[in-house]
């Protein structure tokens, strides 16, 4: 067996050696020969990558394609391609609700997370006594399983829950409110549970962005006599945009896919896309489940593409 040699950096060799043009008598080796040399040099790299690549192809890309195909396959008879499943879906009120709830929860949740996350990140960017304790406390929700965030919310927003009790004791309501119901209340409650769980991630992303802003930007602004608010608006916010973009994209993708919290908190009464797909699968409607999942994928792709399109257009306009 030949001992494999370490790879040699491609391209020209050390600068000290002048490149000698190859003599005409020795043309470039034929393709099979070059392949064989490439293989001898890189077989180990290929062998190290293959398991991961195969797994992602087989267990991620293939299932996604299977789902898309299933969505276009008739449930009975297996005709392909057909739009029958989509006609079915779009005629159903609970599917429309699932689309609406998912979009609503994402918009409410991400907006709340950004505002509160930015406030906490700005606080953490300053030095104050007990800062370490404050950081640990606000990171606690990150150490709580998503499902548990939903379960805890059960006790808070239930009819006899602590939110109603708090509002009652503050004299704001007389009769308890039933929160996890279809409509704005349900959206708000699910967005709130999601926000509780995920704001720490937004805080960490924005804090890293804040710490990357060079100090002299502020010093120059203070010399100019800019107020704290103008400093924030004119200097901090524009420089924080890349971090905000990262937070919005990461959080929105996850919010569109929300499952655990919606399922444990509201079950089928407030359907979101993922729980809708799950219940379709559960009741044996494989093709409509796959169709609805495809719609969800489309929603995510459209959102991400749309966000970048908007951000790019605004950057050009500036």
């Amino acid at each position: 067996m030949e001992v494999s040699r370490p790879p040699v950096a491609p391209g020209p060799g050390p600068a000290a050696l002048p490149r000698v043009p190859p003599p005409l008598a020795a043309p470039r080796p034929a393709l099979p020969e070059r392949l064989r040399r490439g293989w001898r040099r890189h077989w180990l790299d290929v062998a190290l990558v293959v398991p991961l690549a195969a797994y992602i192809l087989g267990f991620t890309l293939l299932p996604v394609l299977q789902s898309i195909a299933l969505g276009f396959t008739a449930r009975f008879g297996g005709a392909f391609p057909t739009l029958a499943n989509y006609e079915d879906l779009f005629a159903r009120p609970d599917f429309g609700l699932a689309v609406l709830n998912t979009v609503g929860i994402t918009l409410i949740g991400v907006a709340l997370e950004l505002v509160v996350g930015l406030a906490i990140a700005l606080m953490l960017a300053r030095a104050f006594p007990l800062r370490g304790l404050f950081r640990t406390l606000v990171l606690v929700p990150m150490g709580v399983p998503t499902l548990v965030a939903g379960a805890a919310m059960l006790y808070i927003v239930g009819v006899n829950g602590y939110l109603n009790e708090l509002l009652f004791r503050l004299g704001l309501i007389d009769a308890p409110i039933y929160w996890p119901q279809s409509g704005p209340k349900g959206m708000f409650v699910i967005a709130l549970a999601d926000m509780w769980k995920t704001t720490p991630i937004v805080v960490l992303i924005l804090l890293a962005g804040l710490e990357a802003i060079p100090r002299d930007v502020y010093e120059a602004a203070s010399v100019d006599g800019a107020s704290a608010w103008r400093q924030f608006r004119d200097h901090t916010l524009p420089l924080l945009m890349p971090a905000i973009t990262m937070a919005v994209i990461l959080r929105a993708i996850d919010a569109f896919r929300i499952f655990d919290i919606a399922l444990v908190l509201a079950g089928r009464s407030v359907p979101v896309m993922s729980t809708f797909v799950y219940f379709e699968y559960f009741f044996g409607n494989l093709n409509t489940a796959a169709g609805a999942a495809t719609v969800l994928l489309l929603m995510i792709v459209v959102f991400v593409a749309g966000y970048f399109w908007l951000v790019e257009r605004r950057r050009e306009a500036v």
């Binding site: 990558v49 398991p51 992602i56 299932p63 606080m123 929700p141 805890a152 006790y155 006899n160």
Partner: protein, 273 residues
Amino acid sequence: MSTAWTPGRVGFYALAALFGLLAVAPLAILLKVSLSGPEDVLVQHPPFWIWHPTTEHWAAVLKPEVIWPPLRKSLVVATGTAVLAVVIAAPAAYVIARLPRGWRYGVVLALLFTRMFPEVIIATPIAVTFLRAGLIDTDIGLILAHLIRNLPFVAWILVGTFEVIPRDLEEASWVDGNGRLGTLWSVVLPLALPGIAVAAIFAWLDSWNDLLYAIYLLLAERTLPLMTYYFANRGSVFDVATFSVVLTVPVLVLTLLLQQYIRAGTLGGAVKG
């Protein structure tokens, strides 16, 4: 910040206290319910304090025949996922980290993009396939499913770990006559070990927390999250709270221990090992 108690300073601390309180309140409520008698919970105006403490919910949940089957399943699956994720992703991450810059960026971005696929779009065909293959209710079936989400993530973290290991060290080892595999084993691996450990713990936590694949792929057996959901579905108020606390404790401990590694950089694949 000045030391005088200005209104701004008082407001700052009040806001910090409010955020800190809200961050831990839901957990405190779960713990409270798990230790309360029904008089403190199942009433129209639940009190904010435990007036009727009891350990009966804990005694009921901690019975070996109740807690052990889901606990065993969760432990086995989470540990299997963590080990396999590292075994499959670490070698690939090493190669990706040594790619030319442009390629590396592209591959890392592609790994990130797998996150855009909703899990339900993957889980539906996977469940059908696993049903045919007899993998429903098996530990290995759930491990294979949890790897779907964790392989790209672990690879992503580890690319950051391998990137910062200087190439010169490897080249020196080659010059010393070690083969490439020998160098990987005796030079690269020890240096990457802290990063690998962190990545493995993240994968372990993700698997421990998972409800989605468990609900698709388990019919007769349950993991801890599935058990919690099952009780929530039945409306067993006290079991949900108690199981939630059991589920949370290891996650909270590991997360707080790993605090220094959990930075935005983690999300960008740059764990400092």
